[in-house]
Symmetry: C2
Subunit: 223 residues, 2 copies
């Protein structure tokens, strides 16, 4: 299939069931006639992530696919995919937190692009953000742009990777969800907690702390 023209009517959202990708899904639903959501099953600690993704896509009436990425475990055993490793309570000040799988985001987006092309989709939506950059090089804007060019060359296709959250912080991500009429949905149905607790989460892990802090800033800034 040659797709040298962008198809602006359809989009594929890389969807984890977390705050960021759910906000991106709401964003896409306002902009495209047809949206599909794709999640990755990579033996993550918490299958609850995929349960949330299922619930949210059902509620929103979005076609949802799960791609098996279990082979990530061949490459980089680590704390997000292996339950026996303890997650840092706080991310280290230098370098990347121990939950990173090098190149994971690149693999996910590349798989998503292959899948999208099969479906005649050129627009790929991902919730990465340089603003809450916590040491993951593959969340940076420069990486996404380079990947977009590489994907286009690899598959002779005009992909457009859209990153609605790239330059906004957590507070503004909450505001975006509200502007998209999805504040309650994002607050109550998404999972970001490292310990697998939906909504407000465990309250102790770094992810819950960031989420809570962002929500409070959102309330303070925009109430």
């Amino acid at each position: 299939m040659n797709m040298n023209t962008r198809n602006k009517e359809k989009a594929l959202v890389v969807f984890s069931g977390g705050q960021d990708s759910t906000t991106c899904l709401l964003w896409a639903l306002k902009r495209y006639k047809e949206v599909i959501a794709v999640s990755f099953d990579y033996g993550q600690r918490h299958k609850a992530e995929l349960d949330c993704a299922k619930e949210i896509t059902e509620k929103l009436g979005v076609e949802w696919h799960v791609l098996d990425m279990s082979l990530l475990n061949q490459l980089a055993p680590n704390s997000l995919t292996r339950a026996e490793i303890v997650v840092d309570e706080n991310a280290p000040e230098e370098g990347t937190p121990n939950s990173v799988v090098d190149g994971r985001n690149m693999l996910f987006l590349t798989f998503a692009a292959v899948f999208a092309k099969q479906r005649g989709i050129t627009d790929l939506i991902t919730g990465v953000s340089q603003s809450d950059f916590s040491g993951y090089p593959d969340c940076r804007d420069v990486f996404i742009k380079s990947l977009n060019a590489t994907l286009n060359l690899a598959m002779d296709t005009t992909f457009c990777i859209e990153t609605p959250l790239m330059w906004i912080d957590k507070a503004d991500t909450w505001k975006l969800a509200r502007d998209l009429d999805g504040l309650e949905l994002v607050r109550d149905m998404t999972l970001t907690c490292y310990n697998g607790v939906k909504g407000d989460g465990c309250g102790r892990c770094p992810s819950c702390k960031l989420r809570k802090q962002g929500y409070e800033e959102f309330l303070a800034r925009y109430r």
Copy 2:
């Protein structure tokens, strides 16, 4: 692991057990202190490919790994991975042959890069060639260079993708094998035939025809 410096002592060869990647493996063995070979198991038609890869690495005393890429089948059912589909006897004049999985080479190289980084390896060797470009966009030099940049950004690492065959044709690939003292090994132990026949192959499929033609040109040009 931060690897912002190229490690010139070790290399990873993306290795299928075919003529091209075996020649690259011989090339790498002359240049690096330590070489590892990585093959991909993606449910290819002919497990014979992996058998050849095993035999060759054993003969050469090279550490060999097989990565499971069976999930490729989730993405793009096609003639190289699904036995029930008939392979074109001749590649179509336009576009790509029906054996292509879009983006396959990009996925293989990205997985190889993740694996390499785990091992402290920055040099990746692949046998892609723009000279025998048969419609696969992810064999072009511009793609490889773009991918190299993207991998470096994704993983904050100084990867160097080496492509010894990029600008040489099949005849010169045979010459390179001879210059590396590996002509017999490549001729007798490698598999390129679409029908899974080692060495000279079935003689009928497009891959065998190209291989034979290249060998005859090599003999004519350099005998």
